[in-house]
Subunit: 260 residues, 2 copies
DNA sequence: ACACCAAGCAGCAAT
DNA sequence: ATTGCTGTTTGGTGT
């Protein structure tokens, strides 16, 4: 099932990686390497110890021993080529579209571990911006007692709008830009764009603009008010901070929500 | 140096991970697991085979056997806690700020590999937007034969302006928003914001706005022209090798050695 | 600490 | 295929 080599030689390691790749296994290499990337940009990473992750779909990821993000990577669908150049293991990874290449030179190896991995399940997520928009649709009075959200068809004729509707009494169009976190200047710009678009397309003179978010930056609020728009504070529907007690209950909660 | 376990039992694996963590080694686990994350959002990943990467700085990353991005992750600085719950290895990862938790249950293990990794060198990169802005500063005629870029201090006076200057003959202010790729609607919004800001702050009536990029989307071009701005096509220079910074010297050394 | 912005952004859905 | 936009965005820089 799994195959691990501790402190292998170049040839040994190359054979193991080649084998894993041919068998469509996932493979992790730890070693001292340097990396050259050329594609949409160019980069060079000088000698150091890293983790190299090779997936069977042609994904290749270089991780430094600290930090969240990879130092270098190649997206799924790459080709792999291994060679021994003067005692250095050279891994070339190539992508056709976009045209990119990565060259990893490994001069010392700590381990090469590989295993066939099966995974048919996908991540289930809650707490996104779409969830917040849905919450506003269900609770329109958060925006205004007079606000009535529209159906989706009416929205789509104006393009991508987070939440769209109108004021019941006046019939004025209402556009709401929803942000999951602190709304900033670009959120206001976005709202402004949408408002102008709806004004043009509908011919309505009066289009009201709102930003609904947990918070808004000072400058963004100023810009918002300058344009005659309004801010509505909206807390996310669920408490997302972790509870210390009874972690297991949460798991069963996920299960029941999965089952539905 | 390196330590690998193939198909270990729960207790064995827990001991190895604990040991790696205590020794500040980087550790990779392959196994069948499910993952619950709660923090800025919530997610649940049902049973499947994954790679788990634990770094000594408290980074924890869950990779599915395909795809570029991690399914789940915890950023640097987390605490780790291991336990055996009814024959299932439970890895709890906790972050204080922001308050987040991840719970990984591993019911089968393929390998646990760890090694102490040292890496003092950082990535050197060229071909960013800043490089393109620098190129325009050096070659202002790309924008207009009459365009004279200002020095860097003047750039920062109004905030984050990519390139700022004026027309030599008329004295009109010029603002250039630089994009490394296809300029889109948000790029035009950004330019518009900057132009309005400079108009307000400087009292200048005439402020010219440009987008300099390799390309621009259709709608973005329409919006750009509607506002009276202009587009300038700018291809990134063939050779992006900079000279000033010490770190960057490494890259130019590489390139010149490659070219021979 | 906050605000703002680029990113080899990635990935996804709608056109 | 392109466009537009979200993201547990991340990471960096300037105030």
């Amino acid at each position: 099932m799994a195959e691990c080599l501790e402190n292998p030689g170049i040839g040994e390691a190359a054979a193991a990686i080649e084998r894993a790749w041919r068998r469509k296994e996932s493979c992790v290499i730890a070693g001292t390497c340097r990396v050259i990337y050329e594609g949409r940009a160019k980069s060079f990473l000088d000698w150091g110890d890293r983790l190299l992750v090779l997936k069977n779909d042609g994904t290749f990821i270089v991780h430094k021993p600290s930090g969240n993000n990879p130092a270098n990577w190649m997206r799924p669908g790459c080709d792999l080529h291994l060679s021994d150049e003067d005692g250095v293991l050279v891994i070339r990874i190539e992508s056709k579209k976009p045209p990119e290449t990565m060259r990893v030179e490994v001069r010392e190896l700590f381990f090469v571990s590989s295993s066939k991995l099966h995974d048919g399940t996908n991540l289930v997520q809650v707490g996104t911006e779409a969830d917040l928009a849905e919450f506003i649709m269900q609770n329109p009075s958060i925006i205004d007692p007079d606000f009535v959200p529209s159906n989706l068809e009416e929205q789509t004729k104006y393009g991508f709008l987070d939440v769209y509707g109108r004021m019941k009494s006046s019939g004025e169009a209402v556009i709401i830009e929803v942000k999951r976190y602190n709304a900033d200047l670009s959120a206001v710009s976005q709202l402004r764009r949408y408002v102008e678009r709806v004004r043009n397309l509908s011919g309505k003179e009066k289009v009201l603009g709102f930003i609904a978010a947990p918070a808004i930056t000072k400058n963004a609020l100023k810009m918002l008010l300058d344009f005659g728009f309004e801010f509505r504070r909206v807390e996310p529907p669920e408490r997302l901070v972790p509870e210390s007690r009874n972690q297991r209950r949460l798991l069963s909660e996920y299960y029941s929500s999965e089952k539905q």
